[in-house]
Symmetry: C2
DNA sequence: GGCTCTTGGTTCAAGTTTGAAACAAACCTA
DNA sequence: TAGGTTTGTTTCAAACTTGAACCAAGAGCC
C-alpha cells in the first residue's frame, strides 16, 4: 500500500505542533527547575498526589494518570522521597502495591511552587489563546488522547508499534495542575 | 499580586494537552525506535537535512529550527555520524562553524523510515482530526510558538525564566517531516 | 596590533529516561 | 493445592538530556 503523505496543510500543522510543544515544554521545565528545583514531571507527581483523596495514590494509578511508564515514576518518587516530599507506604490489601503519599513538606513545596507554575502556563499558553481556542485545544487533545489510550475502539489495530500494550485502567481520573484548594 | 488560577475549562484543556502530548510523543518515539532504531529527534535531524539545500545545514541553524539546545544536537549528530548517516564538514567562510551533511546512507535510511513514520503521525493524529481542527491546531500552535520564540514583542518581559535567552535567528525556515521529494 | 565582546561548537558530569529483566504477590484452573 | 499466568513494582545498564564551563574564531574598538 502506497504511503499517504501529509498534505501541505498537515505538514504546516505538524511542524507548528512540534515547535510549540518543544518550546512550551522547555519553558515550563526551565521555570520549574529555576523556581522549585525540579522538572515538570516531578511537579506533576506532587500536584496529582495533592489532589487525590487523602493525598495518596497507588504507583500504578499515578503512572496511568500521568501517562508515563512505571519505571519512570519509580525514579521520580525515589528522588522525591529522598527530598522528603513524598513517602511510600505499603498497601494493606494488596501486598504488591505501594502507595505514594504526599508529605506535609511536599504540600508546602507544592503550594510555594504552584503560583509561578500557573503563571507560566498562563503567560506561555492561555494568554495567547482566545476562549474559543481553549475549547478547540481541549477537544483536539481529548480526541488524540482517547485514540492513544489503551482501549482503542477502531477495528484491526491489534499490534501496531505506536499503541501502548500497557493495561488500560478503566477508571478515568483527572490530574490537577494546581494544588487542591490552594490557600 | 494574587495568582490567576486556571479556570475549570483551562484546567481541562491543560490536562488534555499534557496527556495528548505525552501519549503522542511516546507513540512516535516507540514506532521510530522499533522500525528505524532511532528516537524521534534523530529522525527529525535527518528529515531537516534532507530538506535543506544540498542536504547540509549549519549546526546552529539546525538546532534553531529543531528548537533544541546546541549541546543536544551535538550529541545527536555525533551518534548519527558514528552510524554513517550524517557527516560533518568545516565551513569555508566561518572557521568556527561546522556543517552537518546528510550522507547517501542517511538518505536511504530516511526514505526507508519515512512511510512508517508518516503513517503513524496520520493514524495517531490527523486521522482523528477534522479538516477544521487541523487548521485550528496549526493556528494555536503557531501562536504559542511565536510567543516563545526569542523575539517576543510584548512589553516588559525581559528576563522571565520561561523565555529562552538564546539568540533568535531572524530567518524563518520550515522543517520537513518527510524526505524531500520522496520516491 | 592589542583588547574586549560575541558567536559557534564541543565537552563533561550530573540528572533523567528507556526497556528489558527480575521478583514477589495475587489469581486462575485443573 | 500445585502449577501457570497475570499484575505491581523495582532494578539495572545503556541511552539520552541538561547546563555550565571551555575553547577557538569572528567583530568591534582604541
Amino acid at each position: 500500500m502506497t504511503t499517504r503523505w501529509l498534505t501541505p496543510q498537515e505538514q504546516r500543522a505538524w511542524r507548528a505542533y512540534l515547535a510549540a510543544t518543544h518550546l512550551l515544554e522547555d519553558a515550563i521545565d526551565r521555570q520549574l527547575q529555576q523556581d522549585a528545583g525540579m522538572p515538570h514531571l516531578f511537579y506533576s507527581v506532587l500536584a496529582n498526589l495533592s489532589d487525590a483523596p487523602d493525598r495518596r495514590l497507588r504507583m500504578t494509578d499515578l503512572a496511568e494518570t500521568l501517562k508515563i511508564t512505571r519505571s519512570r515514576l519509580t525514579y521520580a518518587v525515589t528522588r522525591l522521597e529522598r527530598d522528603g516530599l513524598v513517602r511510600r507506604e505499603d498497601c494493606r490489601w494488596d501486598k504488591r502495591s505501594s502507595i505514594a503519599v504526599l508529605t506535609d513538606e511536599g504540600t508546602a513545596v507544592l503550594e510555594r511552587a504552584a503560583p509561578g507554575h500557573v503563571e507560566t502556563v498562563r503567560a506561555t499558553l492561555f494568554d495567547r489563546l482566545s476562549p474559543e481556542q481553549v475549547g478547540q485545544l481541549e477537544e483536539i487533545c481529548t480526541g488524540i488522547a482517547r485514540g492513544l489510550q489503551g482501549g482503542g475502539t477502531e477495528p484491526g489495530a491489534e499490534d501496531v508499534p505506536w499503541r501502548r500494550r500497557a493495561s488500560c485502567s478503566s477508571t478515568e481520573s483527572s490530574p490537577p495542575v494546581q494544588p487542591r484548594r490552594s490557600p
